[in-house]
């Protein structure tokens, strides 16, 4: 029952907050809605028995990515907001207008239909399995997989992270104004 409750609330949180990301015109609110949506996905991971992935999701997104995005939003305000608000340059508003929404919505609709076609195929071909309620611990297994079967991907991703760290630091470092 708990699991069902968790699933229902997580799914609601995920979808609802994702809609919030789409609907709000305020970038800061959008970020917070994203946070909620990602929390919901973490909850869904938990209902799938992926405890380690769920906690990693919380750790990386809440502790890192979302705060980083909040910082980016704060650091990139400036004159832009004023000129956009008065539409001085004739470009669409920063958070979109009805045209961009309608184009995006149209494309989204097409993709929705496409994917429903795909999913229906998948669900027809794979009879739904009956899965028990047990949730074995995944931590030690994931640890073994990471350093045995997937060791190459593991090392490459660590190099990727190092590269991203150095690259981000170099790109974003303040330069002397002329």
């Amino acid at each position: 029952m708990f699991i069902q409750l968790l699933f229902a609330s997580s799914a609601t949180l995920t979808v609802g907050c994702a809609l919030g990301v789409l609907a709000t015109k305020n970038l800061m609110h959008s970020c917070i809605f994203l946070l909620g949506s990602l929390m919901g996905v973490a909850g869904l991971f938990a209902t799938l028995g992926a405890d380690f992935v769920a906690v990693t999701q919380i750790m990386v997104y809440m502790g890192g990515v979302v705060i980083l995005m909040l910082f980016a939003v704060m650091l990139t305000g400036g004159k832009d907001f004023i000129s956009r608000a008065q539409n001085l340059l004739g470009l669409p508003s920063s958070m979109g207008n009805k045209w961009t929404y309608s184009v995006g919505g149209l494309v989204g609709l097409v993709l929705l239909l496409t994917n429903i076609r795909l999913i229906s195929n998948v669900m027809n071909s794979h009879a739904p399995k009956v899965i028990g309620d047990e949730y074995p611990s995944t931590v030690s297994q994931i640890g073994h997989l990471l350093v045995k079967d997937h060791v190459l991907a593991f090392e490459i991703s660590s190099v990727l992270l190092l590269g991203a760290l150095v690259g981000a630091a170099i790109i974003a470092r303040p330069r002397k104004q002329k």
């Binding site: 494309v107 097409v110 993709l111 496409t114 076609r117 350093v147 060791v151």
Partner: protein, 736 residues
């Protein structure tokens, strides 16, 4: 006896910890942490001494070894093994080597605390010194070529830093770069050899390689048209040549004296250069299988003789020692090549002791007199009595005078070389090996005594020559030389005790186990000829059924379970078993000959530099001297010929092909053809292309542009929409 990793690891770890602490907090420690480095090496020494005691004084049998390993990573797939293990491999040879490295390094550290006092690079020096030592200890402990390579490279880096430690001097910087680049040539080959072995065997553990050799896994394998074993052995030996400064790659070692003298002592005696000999010894079965021992012997002989000739004309005291190191390394390599396994290894040990002592003595002289050009020295005997004593003992040892260690080890190598060259039925051309070896031995005695006579005997030139101190003074000390007085030696513990301790170990009976070679005058507690008994070439058959031991397991094998092996005159020849009798007579002849040659060398030096009854060579053979002073022109060869002529010549050749052939014939010819074509083309152009083609294309492009302009908007979201649409249409057109 129990051996855990905890009782072995501190040997390697304590200098590493000292390095880390000194690197980060050295400046804040009293005396910039030199005591910490020295203490850490002393801890290594204690642990090594325990292992040495267990292994040598009867605890374990001859072929006993400890092998602890864990799998670092494993990429095995199916039946193909691809894994890298890390671990510890300890046998008699490593036990002896560990004691030598840690002991000599400890004495060098102790000496350095005196030598580098008040030097501006004091702290930095004591950061790299323990790292260097730990890398060598790790190299000796490692059980596979991969970790050996790691430590090998750490040593390369440390030698680079130590040689170039006076980084404000351009010469020092050049020398360090030279050392780094020259050894790099060898290292590339070593890595190639390791990778080749890994590719074939899937593991680079010593025991796995030995087992593979015994099981014949190399049979029928070939690469680039030569046998696989030859290829791998050659690559590994080329790596060893770079590190051990053998003949074509030797140019870095004489320049390596740009660093502080104790650093040179560490590089030349205990650590870096012996690493090459060490890897050749470890991979000896592979060398035999690959049948390159003759090549090894020839390279060693050329180095031994060539370096000895150069050393006879050097005037810098450290340069003489550097070339003598080269020469002695040549003897070790000869030993590996002619199959006198334990004598080669013994020469590593004896050489480490007396060469460390020689360098430290030279450091003592330089630090006291602030002069290292021998013509400006002389008569130092009464000013530096302890140094004189120690240096004389070492000179006797290196010259191969009986009862000293150099005689014991070098004589055995020469005896085996004699057998190898003349009596074993090899290619008669290989007789060059013993000939060059003996000639080099005579020269060794000559140039070493030349150095002694010029430095310590004769009249003191220091009092008259007050102006020559500044130049030729390669060891830029932090403080200015006083220029008017020699510091009288007083018994400073840190200066003299290391020298005297090392001098004690120049006696031969420590190594041969007896004073006379008979059972008379035994070393207490040790076996007669313990060195020969304990060190023997690896018997690869033993390793076939070897089971690996878990890394953390405790080793509790009892002595009673193993029996002591008895010593045979098994010297591990590549060919058929050596004739015992012939070998024995070769050794006898060799011993007599080398004693004779050594005394002849000493006598020549005596006549030239003390009695002055024979003119020095410099006046007699000016041309030859010039060649030798140019070191056979190797440096010039590398720079002028290989780089300037070779690379630039290649460039010029390519340029000639470009300008001469391509330009003249292809381009100009094409131009002529073009001129004809032009007439035709002009008409064609005007009528067909312009009217129809160009204008038509323009119109078409214009039309196409209208479409493309919309697509190529530069707006990323538009691209994304296109992508999604294409994807969707692809899915909708699929039928599944």
């Amino acid at each position: 006896m129990e051996y855990t990793v905890g009782s072995i690891a501190p040997i390697f770890l304590s200098p590493v910890i000292a390095f880390v602490i000194n690197a980060f907090f050295g400046r804040k420690l009293p005396r910039q942490g030199d005591w910490l480095a020295t203490l850490s090496i002393f801890i290594s020494f204690i642990f090594s001494a325990r292992i040495f005691g267990d292994f040598v004084f009867g605890q374990f049998a001859t072929d006993f070894f400890i092998h602890k390993t864990f799998t670092w990573f494993d990429l095995s797939h199916g039946s193909q093994i691809w894994k890298v293990d890390m671990g510890i491999y300890l046998d008699n040879m490593s036990a002896i080597m560990l004691l030598m490295v840690s002991g000599v390094a400890f004495l060098i550290h102790l000496f350095s605390t005196w030598y580098m006092d008040h030097d501006e690079k004091h702290g930095r020096f004591f950061v790299f010194l323990p790292l260097f030592t730990s890398a060598m200890l790790g190299l000796v402990l490692s059980d596979n070529l991969f970790s050996l390579f790691i430590f090998w490279e750490i040593m390369g880096f440390c030698s680079y830093s130590l040689i170039g430690i006076y980084n404000k001097k351009e010469k020092a910087g050049d020398a360090s770069l030279k050392a780094f680049m020259t050894t790099r040539v060898g290292d590339v080959f070593l890595l190639l050899g390791i990778v080749a072995l890994w590719m074939l065997l899937g593991s680079v553990n010593y025991v796995d390689i030995y087992a593979a050799i015994a099981e014949g896994k190399f049979d029928g394998q070939s690469v680039l048209g030569i046998s696989f074993a030859t290829f791998a052995a050659l690559c590994i030996f080329l790596g060893a040549m770079g590190k051990s400064a053998q003949f074509p790659l030797h140019v870095w070692l004489p320049d390596a004296m740009m660093g502080p003298t104790p650093g040179s002592a560490l590089i030349h005696a205990a650590t870096m250069v012996t690493a090459g000999v060490w890897v050749s010894l470890r991979m000896y079965p592979l060398m035999v299988l690959g049948d390159i021992t003759w090549f090894i012997a020839v390279i060693g002989a050329i180095t031994a003789f060539g370096a000895a000739t150069i050393a006879t004309v050097q005037t810098d005291i450290k340069a003489v020692l550097a070339y003598s190191t080269l020469s002695q390394l040549g003897y070790m390599i000869i030993g590996v090549g002619v199959g006198s396994y334990n004598a080669a290894f013994m020469h590593v040990i004896t050489h480490a002791c007396f060469k460390a002592c020689l360098f430290l003595s030279a450091g003592s002289i330089i630090h006291s007199v602030h002069e290292q050009e021998m013509p400006k020295l002389g008569g130092l005997r009464k000013y530096l009595p302890y140094t004189h004593f120690a240096m004389m003992a070492c000179t006797l040892a290196i010259a191969g005078i009986p009862f000293f260690s150099g005689f014991v080890s070098k004589d055995r190598i020469l005896g085996d070389a004699l057998y190898y060259g003349f009596m074993s039925g090899q290619n008669p051309l290989l007789a060059i090996v013993p000939i060059l070896g003996f000639a080099g031995a005579g020269l060794t005695a000559f140039y070493m005594f030349r150095m002694m006579f010029l430095t310590f005997y004769g009249e003191n030139k220091q009092h008259h020559d007050n102006h020559g101190h500044g130049h030729g003074h390669h060891d830029a000390k932090g403080h200015k030389s006083h220029g008017h007085d020699i510091h009288h030696e007083h018994l400073d513990v840190r200066q003299n005790v290391p020298l005297l301790i090392l001098a004690v170990f120049t006696l031969g009976f420590w190594f041969s186990g007896t004073l006379t070679g008979q059972s008379f005058g035994n070393l207490f507690g040790a076996k007669t000829e313990w060195f020969k008994i304990l060190v023997e070439a690896p018997q690869v058959e033993k390793f076939v059924n070897h089971k690996r031991e878990d890394f953390s397991k405790m080793d509790t094998r009892e002595q009673s379970h193993l029996e002591h092996a008895h010593y045979h005159h098994q010297t591990g020849y590549a060919g058929p078993n050596p004739d015992e009798h012939k070998l024995h007579s070769a050794h006898t002849i060799g011993a007599i000959a080398s004693i004779f040659i050594a005394f002849a060398g000493v006598l020549l030096a005596f006549l030239m530099y003390i009695k002055k009854s024979v003119n020095p060579w410099a006046t007699r053979f000016p041309g030859l001297t010039k060649v030798l002073q140019n070191k056979y022109g190797f440096d010039d060869f590398y720079i002028d010929v290989l780089i300037k002529k070779g690379l630039l010549g290649l460039n010029r050749g390519l340029a000639w092909i470009d300008m001469g052939i391509y330009d003249r014939y292809v381009v100009d010819g094409a131009a002529a053809v073009n001129r004809v074509m032009y007439k035709v083309a002009k008409w064609f152009d005007n009528v067909v292309i312009d009217a129809i083609g160009v204008d038509g294309t323009g119109v078409a492009v214009n039309l196409f542009n209208l479409v493309l302009r919309i697509v190529q908007s530069g707006k990323i979201q538009f691209y994304f929409i296109m992508l999604v649409m294409v994807l969707a249409s692809y899915i909708w057109t699929l039928n599944f």
